[in-house]
Amino acid sequence: MSHDHSDEHTEPPPDVELRVKALETLLVEKGLVDLAALDVLIDTYENQVGPRNGAQVVAKAWTDSAYRTWLLEDAAAAISSLGFAGRQGEHITVVENTPGVHNLVVCTLCSCYPWPVLGLPPIWYKSAPYRARAVADPRGVLTEFGTELPDDTQIHVWDSTAEMRYLVLPERPADTDDWSAEDLAVLVSRNAMIGTEKARLPKKARQK
């Protein structure tokens, strides 16, 4: 590629960036968006909100049975009581794993996801293979994530929508009876709250 006169112009960015710049400047001119608010929004989802929030919710449910009951009955209220509220958190259902039932969450049509507790979804959650196979072959998907379940465990697949999003309450690992909620939260991975994995085992977490 020739770069003659490179100091006399700036190489335009890829088309997709120009499209975003076009949209952004037009919308700002129309008074429909505010640049400062855009930056706050981006910072929120890039840096502030993430699966650590959900892990705190799970750890509290593990250590406080009244909270667990509340969470299963009215997840949005129980979650916002911990300070995790806002977009995509208005309608959340928490589904509980038990020894006979494992829950797995997907959004088959796009990428609906409980932002206040998990942040924005990982790339695989948005991919066609996951969206299709979580429903068609959940056990196979779990195997790919290294999650093996007993043959008689039922797998419930929950398809998220704009109206309802799901968070999995994983099973509390054994041998953690004396653990604080703060320590327990470390065992709760993002994937455990989507349901592709279980909560980490205490030994593994301690070795980390």
């Binding site: 006399e8 700036t10 997709v16 952004e24 129309k30 796009c110 695989w124 066609a128």
Partner: protein, 112 residues
């Protein structure tokens, strides 16, 4: 039920932690849609329908890496459909930005 090729692996995103946005434009495309829905330009179910339509058209080769491309296309289409911004105006503004880059000496801020 959708049949998919079992050989297509589900991309793993856990380790190392993948960035939320892979480029600033993805972040701005994301934030624009969220802010517009909060302004009531469209509601979230309308938005997810628009996004789902783009994703559906992409078919089964979609491994998630093109996600914000679909997001941006869905946003452009929804705004044109609602008469907020016409396709022509969008195109003109894009061209104006490209020309702004081309006439701006390297290292200087690019302005329309």
């Amino acid at each position: 039920m959708t049949q998919t090729d079992p050989l297509i692996p589900i991309p793993s995103g856990e380790i190392p932690a993948t960035p939320v946005f892979r480029a600033p434009w993805e972040a701005y495309a994301f934030a624009l849609a969220v802010q517009l829905s909060e302004q009531g330009i469209f509601d979230w179910p309308e938005w997810t329908q628009a996004l789902a339509a783009e994703i559906r058209d992409a078919g089964e080769d979609d491994h998630g890496s093109q996600y914000y491309h679909y997001w941006l296309t869905a946003l452009e289409k929804l705004l044109t459909k609602q008469g907020i911004i016409s396709e022509e105006v969008l195109q003109e503004r894009k061209t104006a930005w490209r020309e702004a880059y081309l006439r701006t000496p390297h290292g200087k801020p690019v302005e329309l």
